[in-house]
């Protein structure tokens, strides 16, 4: 059996008394575009921080391509690319200088050659010598994705990649995500509030509610489980309402 791209078991993270991620058990197979949905404070960013080795779990475990995020964090860091929300690179440096710096930190040999390839992938090789300080939010977001691709990661973590972008910027980011997945086989794990974006891009989704995973399955299966609900947005709202009404977290649906 192929090792999944991402696997967590009872992954928990507490901040004092508050449980940000509560016994998260999840499997994301290779090659998926996984959309991680949830309200503000649901625990999405904390989950990404745990999976990208930026935070230590309070309990439980997580593996990226079989490497443990705590015990083998260096190996994990070699395999992952991470794009935080609101990418802020070094404004006083050019795109090439930013990418060369981050590429070298990832151990990329021939960083110059690789950054040229990545800029070509973005279809903007002319950005190379432009100062990042002059860039719009959408351009920064694309450079943010570029920096995460330099070391050819197997899985890419994106935290609200299209947040605050205009429709054109959202489409450009969406197209890029699909290309990365289809052409390069990169597994995508994406936090998003934008349900239309998730419905369009993702092959599977998970819904977090107050730190707990309440839905996780392929998008097609999720749609089948809610036959009377026409859109992902409606499904999401229905789940949220149910959680609020019950005041409890129901059993997760389809969690692998």
């Amino acid at each position: 059996m192929t090792t999944p791209a991402i696997e967590t078991h009872e992954l928990t993270r507490k901040y004092g008394e508050k449980t940000a991620v509560d016994h998260l058990t999840l499997t994301v197979p290779r090659g998926e575009i996984f959309g991680f949905l949830g309200h503000n404070g649901a625990g999405k960013t904390t989950t990404i921080s745990l999976l990208t080795t930026l935070l230590l779990p309070t309990s439980g475990s997580a593996q990226i391509f079989g490497d443990d995020v705590v015990q083998q964090n260096r190996a994990v860091r070699q395999r992952i690319g991470y794009v935080p929300e609101n990418v802020r690179l070094y404004n006083d440096l050019t795109v090439a200088e930013n990418l060369r710096f981050l590429g070298e930190l990832s151990g990329v040999q021939n960083a110059d050659g690789r950054l040229a390839e990545v800029l070509q992938l973005l279809e903007h090789p002319e950005w190379r010598d432009w100062r990042v300080g002059t860039f719009s939010k959408g351009m920064r977001q694309r450079i943010g994705i570029a920096q995460a691709l330099l070391h050819q990661p197997a899985v890419l973590f994106l935290d609200e990649p299209a947040s605050g972008l205009d429709p054109e910027g959202q489409r450009a980011i969406g197209d890029l995500i699909v290309r990365l997945n289809h052409e390069f086989g990169i597994t995508i794990f994406m936090n998003t509030h934008q349900l239309s974006e998730a419905a369009k891009l993702c092959t599977s989704i998970g819904i977090m509610n107050h730190g707990r995973l309440v839905v996780a399955d392929t998008l097609a299966n999720v749609m089948r489980r809610f036959p009377d609900t026409p859109s992902l947005e409606e499904i999401y709202l229905q789940v949220e309402r149910r959680e609020a009404q019950n005041g409890r977290v129901p059993a997760a649906v389809g969690v692998a």
Binding site: T45, T53, L55, R77, Y82, P84, N86, L93, L105, S106
Partner: protein
């Protein structure tokens, strides 16, 4: 290349592209020009007055001609001590602030720490890079002042004078490192950039102005009778308490050794080379001690500090 060196190189490059940093650097260099100009003008005026007095006395047939005032070349650069104490310290605070808190607030640190980079490598890289920035800046100031002495002052400094200026530059580096490491330590410890900046500047004001003033308040006045007109002058004298308070101020140490090295302090012209070397080394140790303490504390906190990656 070593990870820390990659980070250090980026810090160096980014600092010399930063407008605020460049503005303050230019201010530093501009003040040097002003300082040398004012210093050399003052010294020339002193010499002119002396020469005119001598000529006048000789014309009157005076038997006793006063000896020429002792003018040390480096006294022209005496203001340099104040520029380092004020502009240098603020510059170091800005560098320390930019190094961590800005990246922490912007999420830039997450980009670095999600790579195969250990926290100690990151901190060493930041320290090395910013130390190199300060050292380069001071080297520029050193060379610039030597050139200004020749161009504006019309004086060729001796090797000994150049060595004194170079030694002062090293002391200035040690002094500025205190504020760099204070600012970096606070950046690690706290999450709000404005608070870091405010506390750093408050500490600087405390050690640079408040502590020396407290020391002044603890001095005693001794009465000295003026031999010419018989008036009684009050001259402040150090006490054990005032000296102990002054020892808490790095800025006092900088001014003190600056006065000896640049020869503007009273009596600095008669200090032997051995004594001066001893004073310099002692000052260097005193200035490096807080830096070492802040670096150690910074490493300790940084290794455990998860707030670096928490969402605000």
């Amino acid at each position: 290349m070593n990870t820390s060196l990659i980070i250090a190189r980026k810090e160096f490059r980014a600092a010399f592209r930063n407008r605020l940093f460049l503005t303050i650097t230019l201010l530093f260099l501009g003040l040097s020009i002003l300082s040398v100009y004012i210093g050399s003008t003052t010294k020339r005026a002193e010499m002119r007055i002396y020469n005119e007095t001598v000529a006048s006395l000789q014309a009157e047939g005076a038997a006793v001609i006063p000896t020429a005032p002792e003018i040390h070349t480096l006294t022209i650069l005496s203001n340099l001590t104040e520029y380092v104490a004020i502009v240098g310290a603020i510059l170091a605070v800005i560098l320390g602030y930019n190094a961590l808190i800005e990246e922490k607030e912007s999420g830039g640190l997450k980009l670095i720490l999600s790579r195969p980079v250990y926290r100690d490598q990151l901190l060493i890289g930041k320290l090395l890079g910013n130390t190199a920035v300060i050292a380069t800046l001071l080297a520029l100031v050193f060379i610039f002042n030597l050139v200004l002495l020749v161009i504006i002052g019309g004086i060729w400094p001796t090797v000994g004078e150049a060595a004194r200026l170079l030694t002062f530059t090293v002391i200035a580096l040690a002094y500025m490192l205190i504020f760099l490491t204070v600012s970096m330590f606070l950046s690690i410890r706290l999450n709000n950039g404005a608070t870091v900046f405010l506390i750093s500047l408050t500490l600087w004001v405390l050690v640079s102005f408040v502590v020396p003033q407290m020391a002044d308040a603890m001095m005693t006045n001794s009465s000295v009778v003026n031999s010419i007109n018989g008036a009684i002058n009050q001259i402040p004298q150090d006490t054990a308490v005032s000296q102990a308070i002054n020892y808490l101020s790095p800025t006092w140490h900088l001014r003190n050794i600056g006065g000896q090295l640049l020869q503007f302090a009273p009596g600095s012209g008669v200090i032997s080379a051995g004594t001066l070397v001893g004073h310099t080394l002692a000052t260097l140790l005193v200035l490096l001690a807080p830096t070492a303490a802040f670096i150690a504390a910074g490493f300790n906190v940084f290794q455990r500090n998860e707030t670096l990656v928490l969402e605000s």
